[in-house]
């Protein structure tokens, strides 16, 4: 019988969606009601841990027997009994379900700073964070170091904002420290709105205390006594864990009045976003906290001079704050030993799309795209690698022949994309680049606040041109019009949303102009994605006459006798793709 059993179940949003709660329950049942002896149960601690990144393998379960860790993947509730019986009771791990080599490869090349404790600590237990060195940074700073010293430390670490713009964090804090004011604010931007990004959610779900600790240090530096976390209401689990963490931090004396007897007081409030992407922009975020429509305002004055309620305000994103305690405890030199000359440290990316290992990864700045995709991501899922979209709706696409590019602020900007908040969507040969550009533009156009003309009307017109192109109604000159209008919108919009909205179009035209030309000149979608240009046909040889497609067809366009090849009436076909999805014999062809 093992002396100490520790079971860790990945309970991020991904894990829970894969059924982690049921797995946890089963463990509890099995351990209490089956033949497992009482001694095991008493020694057994079951932690919920946050996301450790590899959500594609959920539910992931760690069983640690006397310090020896075994990780299981794809665990379903009905598998729990066997794990308990064979592994926990008898000491023989269930080899069939243990993670394979690619699980280790996924983690091997990563360097974890921000995520170092995610998946290890129980996010709902402050002591779990403290046992791994948590709140040591606050203890070492408050009362012992001057704010100026700490700002200097952050500056020398080279930390730059992880929310997208990459502004040096130490400098931002210095700007906000300078003005004399009876009141200053510090805000954590957790309004992670980029489609395809979930770094901030995972950090808050996995290790909320690191964010709180980073904010407290920031507040100490600029002299703020009030803080806000502006978080998306779409992240209920993160909100819940954050609230628990705030409560615990207050109880433990790391928040509230007179922190650690230093005379410094700091409180954090949670503000729930109400669903507007533009509120990720700092002045819009301020307007939203003030209870208004989230419309940005022109800078200057910058929030560091006049922010929330007109007072000096620092806004950093989740990942930025989460880096701070690690920089303070391990030193700025340690932090700046990772990364490139201008982009220091690590960056968390949400690696998704047509790649084998999707999930959350943290790599040193400057790692090559190739290493990320092939070594960590395990290569393509099925198709052939075509491009990577980085930076979400503000970013761009990096084509296949640039796969050796280093991923850092400067290198990506040079090729017309951005690091952004860290979305990384891998695309393969079945993805249409015009459609991808359209997808992002649809998003930004819908999220435009409507305050300034170029973004309000301009993105609408851009989208309409793209619509026409993907519907086979494009005409010559459209590409040039997209380029000039796109550039004008970038140059004349009020805020970052409009200034970057055309990027997905501009970068796809730059690298995939031939696809645009095929749509416009040949009325053809090379990747067979754009509906209006598609034709679905049934391959006579492959069709078994199972009638499934005919049943699925919403417009009764498919006919044929049972067990005989079916046909699609092109006049009736609405090109929904239902037949393509239902056919089990790959008999439906699209081009």
């Amino acid at each position: 019988m093992p002396k100490a059993v520790d079971i860790r179940i990945c309970m991020g949003t991904g894990g829970i969606a894969a059924g982690a709660s049921a797995v946890l329950e089963r463990f509890e049942e099995e351990l209490s009601s089956t033949g497992v002896g009482a001694s095991v149960r008493e020694n057994c601690s079951r932690h919920n841990v946050g996301c450790r990144g590899f959500c594609a393998r959920d539910v992931l379960v760690d069983v640690i027997l006397d310090g020896e860790r075994t990780t299981y993947q794809y665990i379903k509730p009905d598998m729990v009994q066997r794990i308990v019986e064979e592994h926990i009771v008898s000491g023989n791990p269930v080899e069939d379900w243990v993670v394979t080599d690619d699980y280790h490869n996924f983690h091997e090349k990563q360097v974890k700073v921000v995520l170092s404790d995610c998946g290890e600590v129980d996010p709902e237990d402050i002591n779990s964070y403290k046992s791994r060195g948590g709140y040591k940074a606050v203890e070492s700073v408050i009362g012992s170091k001057t704010p100026e010293d700490v700002i200097e430390m952050i500056k020398s670490s080279g930390l730059r904002g992880r929310g997208g713009a990459g502004f040096p964090t130490g400098l931002k804090w210095e700007f906000a420290r300078k003005p004399e004011s009876d009141q200053k604010y510090i805000i954590c931007n957790a309004d992670e709105g980029d489609p395809g990004a979930f770094m901030d959610r995972s950090i808050i779900e996995g290790n909320p205390h690191s964010v709180i600790e980073g904010m407290t240090i920031g507040a100490y530096c600029i002299g703020a006594d009030k803080g806000y976390v502006y978080i998306r209401a779409e992240y209920p689990l993160a909100v819940k864990r954050l609230r628990i963490a705030l409560e615990q931090a207050k109880e433990a004396g790391y928040l509230g009045e007179n922190i650690l007897g230093s005379g410094f007081s700091f409180n954090i409030k949670v503000k729930l976003g109400a669903g507007a992407f533009v509120c990720g922009e700092e002045t819009a975020l301020i307007a939203s906290i003030e209870g208004q429509r989230g419309m940005p305002r022109a800078k200057p004055p910058f929030p560091a001079q006049q922010g929330l309620w007109g007072k000096p305000t620092v806004i950093n994103n989740v990942e930025t704050f989460s880096n701070v305690p690690y920089i303070v405890t391990k030193g700025p030199d340690w932090f700046s030993s990772f990364g490139t000359e201008k982009s220091k440290g690590t960056k968390v990316f949400a690696l998704t799309g047509k790649i084998r290992n999707t999930g959350l990864i943290e790599v040193p700045m400057g790692m090559s795209l190739k290493e990320i995709i092939y070594d960590i991501g395990g290569g393509m899922e099925r198709g052939e690698f075509k491009a990577v979209q980085t930076g979400g709706p503000s970013g761009g696409c990096i084509p296949k022949d640039m796969i050796d590019i280093n991923v850092d602020f400067e290198s990506l900007a040079k090729v017309g994309s951005i690091v952004g908040s860290g979305g990384m969507v891998v695309l393969d040969d079945t993805d249409c680049m015009v459609n991808i550009a359209k997808f992002f533009l649809e998003f930004t156009q819908r999220e435009s606040c409507g305050k300034c003309t170029p973004c309000r009307v301009g993105t609408k017109r851009l989208l309409e041109i793209l619509d026409r192109v993907t519907e086979g109604k494009g005409k010559s000159g459209d590409i040039e019009l997209l380029l000039t209008l796109g550039q004008d919108i970038k140059d004349s919009s009020l805020c970052g949303l409009g200034q970057t909205a055309p990027n997905p179009i501009l970068s796809t035209i730059k690298y995939f102009r031939d696809e645009y030309e095929a749509h416009i000149n040949e009325k053809r979608c090379p990747a067979a994605v754009c509906k209006a240009m598609l034709t679905y046909t049934i391959l006579e040889d492959a069709c078994k006459g199972c009638t499934l497609c005919a049943k699925a067809c919403p417009s009764d366009a498919i006919s044929g006798e049972k067990k005989k090849p079916h046909v699609i009436d092109q006049g009736l076909c609405v090109k929904c793709g239902a037949c393509f999805d239902t056919c089990k014999f790959k008999a439906v062809h699209k081009e």
Binding site: R293, A298, G450, T453, V457, T459, R461, L494
Partner: protein, 349 residues
Amino acid sequence: MADRINITIDGEKVNVDGGLTVLQAARRSGFHIPTLCDDDRLKPYGGCRLCLVSIEGIPRPVTACTTPVTDGMVVETSNDHIERLRRTIVELLLSDHPNDCMTCDRAGDCTLQELAYFYGLRDNRFWGERRRYEDDDLNPFIKRDMEKCVLCGKCVRVCREVQGVGAIEISYRGFGAKVCPPYERDLNCEFCGQCVSLCPTGALSGKQWSGKGREKDVKKIKTVCPYCGCGCNLTLHVSRNEVIRVSSEPDTINEGWLCPKGRFGYEFIKSPDLLKSPLIRKNGKLEEVTWDEALKFVSEKLGSIKEKYGPDAIGGLSSARCTNEENYLFQKFIRAGIGTNNVDHCARL
């Protein structure tokens, strides 16, 4: 007042008040920068993006209306790049506009039309969906044609910042953004019409102005509002010998703001009920008489009342619509002439 500073605009050195925005400084120094959303009396907004200028040392164009001047600043109000952006912005606005200037009341007095003229925009590179709003606002005074709205937000801001009411707000967002009263009900406010006075296009106008004449037909006559003691300056717009509209200039004592009576209550001028001579009731019927007869009648009556009941039986109530001098004379007449202190004035309320 901030210190005066030196800046350079389009190569010309100018000395300006340091508390100004670039737009204010340029205007006061005689440079023209186009805008739709700016008004000196409102807080800077930065929405229309037409006032983009180049400032040395700042990599991208910035809006003149939101950027404060700093000492030594070098501003360029126009260059190829900026004109290209402005032109695109105007084209975009026109691509979502009814472009029905031939029947619009504001033709000749419309900022958008001027811009289209200036940039020679006969053709438009952009086309697509246009906002369509069918519903008619049944309020008595203000015509709201939101298809012509350019979302400059001046109406919303004046209603909040100046009038302190907040009857309207920009609702929805993006291309669907729309200025409207809550729940898109009919406008139900004080109808001061400040919003109408600031609208740069034909989106807001007076219902009673419709079809009465446009800018080129109008003779403007400055006068003072007859309604109350505030004495707001009015500009009467006269066409075919009829007052068809009332406005007020920003550089007046009332800064161009008016109340509903001053702005919309001018129709009495041509009312057939308007009194043109004094009336005296004779045998139960009011009859027109001469001023001499009327004054004689009043003085006789006042004299007889005073004699019979004493001066305190008489009181005088004066009007805010009279000048100070007239009011002075009136109280003098009541106090010294009649001999009572029973005198009051409606503007005291």
